[in-house]
Every structure is written in C-alpha cells, then in structure tokens.
C-alpha cells in the first residue's frame, strides 16, 4: 500500500467511485438470483459490465495517475474491450436461449420475427 502521500479528498473520491461501482456489480449479481425468467436475468450482468465497470476503472485510473504522478489511461483499454465483447456474449446467449426455447416449444419462448 503506497498511498501515504495522497490527499484525503482524493482517497475519498477513489473509494467512493470504487465502492459505487462494486455496488452496481453486486446488484447485477443479485438480479441474477432474484429475477424469475431467463430473459429477465440476462439484463442483470450488464449492470456490472457497464456502469459498475466504468466506475471501478475510473477509480483505478485516478488512483494510479495520482500515485505515479502522470496520466495512466491503460485501464480504459479494459473498458473498451468489455464494451465491445459484452454485447457479443449476451447477444449470443439470448439467441441461443431463444433458439432452444422455440425448439422445445417452451411457453416463454420469444415470438418469431
């Protein structure tokens, strides 16, 4: 831990960003448990993958920039990567589920287009 030279306000801001982001990720995971059908549950992880991740990465970039005393924007690459990949995974999962539900004649299955 080498944040001794950090001002108090910066530490508070970093902690606020990170804890809020972790809170969104936790609520997303909670939604995975609490929502009833599969198609409702697919919405839940994107909570952690969008705002939760963005806030945590902002906190990380702020902290590392202050510690290393220069602008560290590397973590934005993680954000970029996940912004591009999350739609692919969720879209594929939703299509797979729709395909399987239609095949099984499940009443939850989405309508044909």
């Amino acid at each position: 831990m080498n944040g001794a030279e950090l001002p108090i306000w910066a530490a508070c801001l970093v902690v606020l960003l990170t804890v809020t982001g972790a809170g969104f990720a936790l609520v997303g995971a909670l939604g995975l448990i609490r929502l009833k059908t599969f198609y409702e549950r697919v919405h839940a992880p994107s909570l952690g993958a969008t705002l939760g991740m963005a806030l945590i990465l902002c906190g990380s970039m702020l902290l590392l920039s202050l510690i290393e005393d220069r602008l560290v924007l590397r973590d934005a690459l993680i954000g970029l990567f996940f912004t591009v990949t999350t739609p692919v995974t969720l879209l594929l999962l939703a299509r797979t589920a729709a395909h399987r539900d239609r095949f099984d004649g499940n009443p939850e299955a989405p309508p044909e287009i």
């Binding site: 944040g3 599969f38 993680i78 399987r100």
Partner: protein, 94 residues
C-alpha cells in the same frame, strides 16, 4: 484517519462486495436450472472476478494486475462464446 486507512478499508469493502457478487453468480452457475443460466452465471462470475483483480491492483498500488485482468476478460469472453455456440449447434467449430 489517514488516506492510507481510507483507501485500505474502502477498497477492502469493494473487494468484499465483488467477492459476494462472485458467490451469487456461482450459485446461479451451480443451480441452473437450464444450461443457458449456467453460462450466464459463468459470464457474471468472470466479470466480477476481473473487477476484483482490478481493485486488488489498486490496493497494492501497482499496475501489474492490469495484464491479469485483461487476460481473464479475454479468456472469459472466449469461453462464454464457445459455450453459447455449443448450446446453439452442438459444435464449437464448424
């Protein structure tokens, strides 16, 4: 109350929340009921694990965990896509 204590406790709290989120995702992964629910659980699990590693990197104050987080993200993405494709067609490579 120094900034080190604030950071240590605050980031520890965030890490605990992310671990709890991983536990919830693991519960969905083990519980099912259908295969797509398990894959969704896996997706959430690795995402939260990646975020926990980022927060751990913040706690240690080193940028070394960045690569680990990026690689977990890449491998998790590949795994989820491969599993979803497998469920769709029964084959991964076609």
């Amino acid at each position: 109350m120094t900034s080190v204590t604030i950071l240590d406790w605050g980031l520890g709290l965030a890490q605990g929340m992310l671990v709890l989120a991983m536990a919830l995702a693991a519960w969905r992964m083990l519980r099912g009921p259908r295969a797509q629910d398990r894959i969704l659980g896996l997706d959430t699990f690795y995402l939260n694990g990646m975020l926990a590693i980022v927060v751990h990197g913040m706690r240690t104050g080193s940028g070394l965990y960045f690569e680990a987080a990026l690689i977990i993200g890449m491998i998790g993405f590949t795994a989820t896509v491969a599993l979803a494709k497998f469920l769709m067609q029964g084959e991964v490579i076609q």
